[in-house]
Amino acid sequence: MAEVNGSEVLVLVELNPAGEGVRKTTLEALTAARALGEPSAVVVGGPGAAAAAKAQLAEYGAQRVYVAESEEVDQYLVAPKAEVLAQLVAEKQPAAVVIPSSPEGKEIAGRLAIKTGSGFLTDVTEIAPDGTATQVAFAGATIVHSKVTVGTPIYTVRGNSVTPEPAPGAAEEEQVAVQLSDAAKATRVVDRVVEQKSSRPELTEASIVVSGGRGVASAENFSIIEALADSLGAAVGASRAAVDSGYYPHTFQVGQTGKTVSPQLYIAVGISGAIQHRAGMQTSKTIVAVNKDPEAPIFELADFGVVGDLNTVVPQATEAINARK
């Protein structure tokens, strides 16, 4: 087994795309990394990225901040970040590398594993001090404990599975020279396009998610799902059936072929609870279901279920929640 001892742990920072500080996933990764040693944050981004992130990194226990800033790193996909991390792994010989588990984060972890001859574990929900990671497999039905056996262990931490806890960190800055190879510049990111601007929280980061399914019955009627979500400050999700029927955009799909979410509260409205959907929400802490079919499998998962017409129950609930404010 690769030994993990109490020394430096590199944590890749996921910057907020809006340009304000770091994403919550970074604070979760810093918290998870503290089980293994002293976290050092690694900021790979455009000029000024580290300055915007530093206060939060210090607050969540980063002892050092490696600053790899260059105009170039954001112009290419995934590979530049893996290259900077590989350079740091060679120089600093850390006990482990911890990365937030976004699609990009997992790809960075994979490329880093090949570059450093290491093993990696994705979507971990917990890291123990001996390096053992917990993962959920098969749509949340199976809990697995795994360990990296070769090289410098690399973990990606699944969003919303670790509660960020502040801890003092010196956040001492060290500049890292960025010299990208041609291989790191293979895929150019020409544009980043935001199509759905939403004031609601990001689906995978939200602490409450309200999702609608086929039972919502039309795109227009999703407004009652949105209203309930807004009364709770929640993100909106949709089942595959709702997305395939054109009721709601694919980017909000929760399930096997969509997003996996693990919020504090998940409210499933008009969703039967096929395995396709359960795969994406089964590990939510508390599950509430509203469905007119008393036999719907979603009720097997629900902590609280209402058998009834969503068109009456949901607006009434929204009104009652708003009235309590």
């Binding site: 790809e107 497999a137 629900a302």
Partner: protein, 259 residues
């Protein structure tokens, strides 16, 4: 244009899936084995590229003998031929090892573009295009909801939260697709009959120049120590809406300190 599409056989995600307690690997006998669903979109995209640009579509699969069924499915949709890497030594291989095998196989197949699904329903790592790009030194265009190829350049819309990133890279390159990219065709009767006659080349690790002792459970870069079924949730409360369902729901949220 030479097109290779990577196809993986997985346990059906619609049925009960398990790990094998003997060695903590995926129990392939516990559920029906099917083509990984998102791979069908990669196959369709490969066929559409062929229709637009000419050339051949080769299916590449790594997996046990039973994976021949997945290859037949791809061939019946319209792929031209297949390479099946099958070797008992691969049992329990980790993702980096599997990527080494796929990379070695790809070095024996001429290609302009490699297509694959963006995620498998069993491992759900979503990393294979990144691993192969790293090993082969080719561009990675992953998570595509749209692909166009023109003048030796691939352009992809990489699906993101609330939008997309426009990516661009010269061929040869590897592209992974989501289920938003197209609508896969069903195999026709003619296609199913024709698939039976299409060539499937079997290769062992030795054929790929890979030392079998470097692949498989014993030398995997990570190991499953143990696993357990997720503890069943205690039965929740279920109420019939008799005009007070919403009120009871909100009361429940209040006990959870949510409202």
């Amino acid at each position: 244009m030479d097109i290779v599409v990577l196809v993986k056989q997985v346990p059906d995600s619609g049925s009960e899936r398990n790990l094998d307690p003997a060695d903590n690997t995926v129990a392939r006998g516990s559920a029906d084995n099917v083509v990984n669903e998102i791979d069908e979109y990669a196959i369709e995209e490969a066929l559409q590229l062929k229709e637009a640009h000419g050339g051949e579509v080769t299916v590449l699969t790594v997996g046990p003998e039973s994976a021949a069924d997945a290859i037949r499915k791809a061939l019946s949709m319209g792929a031209d031929k297949a390479v099946h890497v099958v070797d008992d030594a691969m049992h329990g291989a980790c993702a980096p090892q599997t990527s080494a095998v796929l990379a070695a196989a790809l070095q024996q197949i001429p290609f302009d573009i490699v297509l694959c699904g963006a995620e498998s329903t069993d491992g759900q790592l979503s990393v294979m295009p990144a691993l192969l790009a790293e090993r082969l030194g080719i561009p990675q265009l992953s998570g595509a909801r749209k692909l166009t190829v023109e003048g030796g350049v691939a352009r992809v819309e990489r699906q993101t939260d609330g939008g997309y990133w426009a990516l661009e890279a010269p061929l040869p390159a590897i592209v992974s697709t989501w289920d938003t990219i197209n609508e896969p065709r069903y195999p026709s009767f003619k296609g199913i009959m024709a698939a039976k006659k299409k060539p499937v080349q079997k290769k062992s690790l030795a054929d790929l120049g890979i030392d079998p002792s470097t692949v498989g459970l014993a030398t995997a870069t990570s190991q499953v120590l143990d696993f357990a079924g997720r503890p069943p949730k205690g039965a929740g409360v279920k109420v019939d809406d008799e005009g007070d369902g919403a009120a009871k729901l909100v009361d429940f949220l209040a006990t959870q300190k949510i409202v």
